[in-house]
């Protein structure tokens, strides 16, 4: 009932919410030290505080307005009970977090995720996969060495585990519980939550290695301008030359892997290690950053997974075996192919690109 209430409320004021949310999140993250000092300053103002209460008790005995203002202020007061924020009687930020998380984040996050999946399927139905223009040559060249493949699949595997468990935490109540019931879902999510919390830091490790490993090959190249102009030839099927990574891959690398990957993993650490005295407001802010970042990352990753599997013939094999056909290389990464053929050093870190004949 509560959820439907929020859905109904979210319906009336839609897009500005999402927009404001991102801005607010960023602002909060930056302004935290300033915010932490603010309530203390308010407490010392004329309306609240010990002096105001003392004065009020003389002027109007039993009128405890200054005390009730303090109750509502969210400041910490005296208590013998030890624990996180036990001195705070009422924290109001929780309601904001609840309204955003249960409202627009869940609703539009879910809708957009389904929309992206539908768009990709529609594109596949209409355009079909990218194919090679010429027949395969049978000569293979190395595209990803063993180390690169281990890092890629390490990142991909941990990402998928985190995505599935994370989606279950956000949407499971609405999607899985109606099918499997509370008991089974509860037991599954106990495992899911622990897996999520322990796999998260591993994902961060793989992501950092991946960023260092591929940053150089993802730097701007003059041919990227042409790629952007022609939209990668995705719609027209036109041939666009590109280096080891084309601009689409570079976008995914910088915005997806680097910016969003680090944002999501970093905010995850704040949530995963509450043992550094984070207050509830910090957790709420980072939870929103984490959830929104993860949803956008997931949407982008769907594009990457599509291109790496059914979207482009031969792409999946390149990451599975490490080798691609020369025709594939010439079709998709012409400049890289020429560089490899010319024997330019440093194309594949640690390994000289080697030609290999496939067994007939």
């Amino acid at each position: 009932m509560t959820t439907s209430l929020f859905k109904a409320r979210a319906g009336s004021d839609t897009w500005p919410w999402l927009f404001c949310l991102l801005a607010v999140c960023c602002a909060l993250a930056v302004a935290r030290p300033a915010l932490a000092e603010e309530p203390a300053a308010v407490a010392r103002s004329a309306e609240t505080g010990a002096a105001a209460q003392q004065k009020r008790q003389q002027e109007q005995p039993l009128n405890n307005a200054p005390v009730w203002r303090e109750v509502r202020s969210g400041d910490a007061h005296f208590t013998t009970v030890r624990g996180p924020e036990t001195g705070v009687l009422i924290q109001s930020e929780g309601q904001t977090w609840r309204a955003l998380r249960n409202g627009p984040v869940t609703l539009y996050g879910g809708v957009l995720l389904l929309a992206v999946i539908a768009a990709i399927l529609a594109f596949y139905k209409i355009k079909g996969p990218l194919t090679l223009h010429d027949a395969p040559s049978g000569r293979m060249i190395e595209r990803f060495n063993r180390f690169e493949r281990i890092v890629h699949w390490g990142t991909a595997g941990t990402f998928l585990i985190l995505a599935i468990t994370g989606l279950a935490i956000l949407f499971g109540k609405h999607v899985i519980v109606p099918i499997f019931g509370h008991t089974l879902f509860g037991y599954l999510l106990i495992v899911g939550k622990n897996v999520h919390n322990y796999v998260g830091p591993v994902f961060l490790g793989f992501t950092l290695v991946m960023i260092v490993m591929w940053a150089r090959d993802n730097l701007w190249h003059n041919c990227d301008a042409e790629w952007i102009r022609k939209g990668g030839g995705l719609a027209t099927g036109e041939h666009v030359p590109s280096g080891r990574f084309n601009f689409g891959e570079k976008t995914w690398f910088w915005i997806g892997v680097t910016v969003l990957g680090l944002t999501v993993a970093g905010s995850g650490l704040v949530l995963d290690f509450p043992n550094f005295g984070q207050v509830r407001q910090t957790m709420q802010t980072f939870n929103l950053i984490h959830v929104i970042g993860a949803l956008v990352l997931l949407m982008l990753s769907l594009g990457h997974i599509y291109m790496g599997t059914i979207g482009a013939h031969g792409a999946y094999d390149s990451m599975k075996t490490g080798y691609v056909d020369e025709t594939w290389a010439r079709t998709h990464h012409e400049l890289w192919y020429k560089e490899v053929k010319a024997g330019k050093p440093g194309q594949s870190p640690g390994h000289a690109p080697a030609a290999r004949e496939v067994a007939p």
Binding site: T2, T3, F6, G49, A50, Q53, Q54, Q57, Q60, P61, L62, N64, V67, E70, V71, H77, F78, T79, T80, V81, G83, P84, E85, T86, V88, L89, I90, Q91, S92, G94, Q95, R98, R101, N102, A168, I169, L170, G172, K173, V177, H182, T183, F185, G186, Y187, L189, I190, K193, N194, N197, Y198, L271, D272, P274, N275, G277, Q278, R280, M283, N287
Partner: protein
């Protein structure tokens, strides 16, 4: 049907922490977990007020709304309870709750290993059979099923903390507010603080004479 509520009379609470102790003892709550706590504003200053707080069993409970496994449920009497078997210890209820009611046996542990959430049950136990051993181990005693009110309110020495059917609780409180008057007229004031009204009147007279004297000088 009765709607169960807590009410803490800030004019009566003397910060004895009897409710906290009663609760811990009644339910054999583990170390580090306090289902109830007393918070004092302006401690040690004239006009200080204390309030005993725990789960307030909200009508639209935020914990219930944000729980990923939907482990909370509400009894017919409006008591918010939860199923520890479904709790994953994510801490979301603690983020959302305005009163800081949800507690975790391991505290804010690394990798979010908080353990199963524990909170005030309004002495109404959990989903297990009323008064069963299993229920007691997980949620403490089920006093409501025995026709008793929460231990904290029963134990309160000044009857500052009231618990029970909201209409009865509000009747008691309304009656109390009307009867006790204000300030030094309050019941028990002279017992606790001596002179009461006379003393206050004397102080005011003194202040007035001082003011008049100052005005005279000017």
């Amino acid at each position: 049907m009765a709607r169960m509520k807590f009410l803490c009379d800030a004019e009566r609470c003397i910060e004895c922490n009897g409710c906290v102790t009663a609760c811990k003892n009644e339910h054999e709550v583990p170390w580090g977990v306090n289902r109830r706590r007393v918070v004092t504003m302006n401690d040690g200053v004239p006009g200080e007020r204390s309030i005993s707080v725990s789960c307030m069993h909200c009508a639209d409970a935020p914990c219930m709304a944000v729980c990923p496994t939907d482990c909370f449920y509400k009894t017919e009497e409006g008591v918010v309870l939860h199923d520890k078997d479904l709790c994953i210890g994510c801490g979301y209820c603690f983020f959302a709750c305005p009163f800081g009611a949800p507690q975790f046996p391991n505290g804010p542990a690394a990798f979010g290993a908080r353990g199963k959430m524990d909170k005030c049950t309004f002495c109404a136990g959990g989903p297990e059979a009323d008064g069963s051993e299993e229920e007691f181990k997980k949620y403490g005693r089920n006093r409501l099923s025995e026709g008793k009110l929460p231990a904290c309110a029963e134990m309160c020495s000044t009857k500052a903390l009231l618990a029970g059917d909201s209409s009865v609780v509000s009747d008691i409180f309304r009656d109390r507010v009307l009867r006790r008057g204000k300030g030094a007229e309050a019941w028990g004031w002279s017992t606790a603080y001596g002179g009461g009204k006379q003393e206050q009147t004397r102080e005011r007279k003194q202040e007035r004479t001082q003011e008049q004297a100052q005005e005279g000088k000017q």
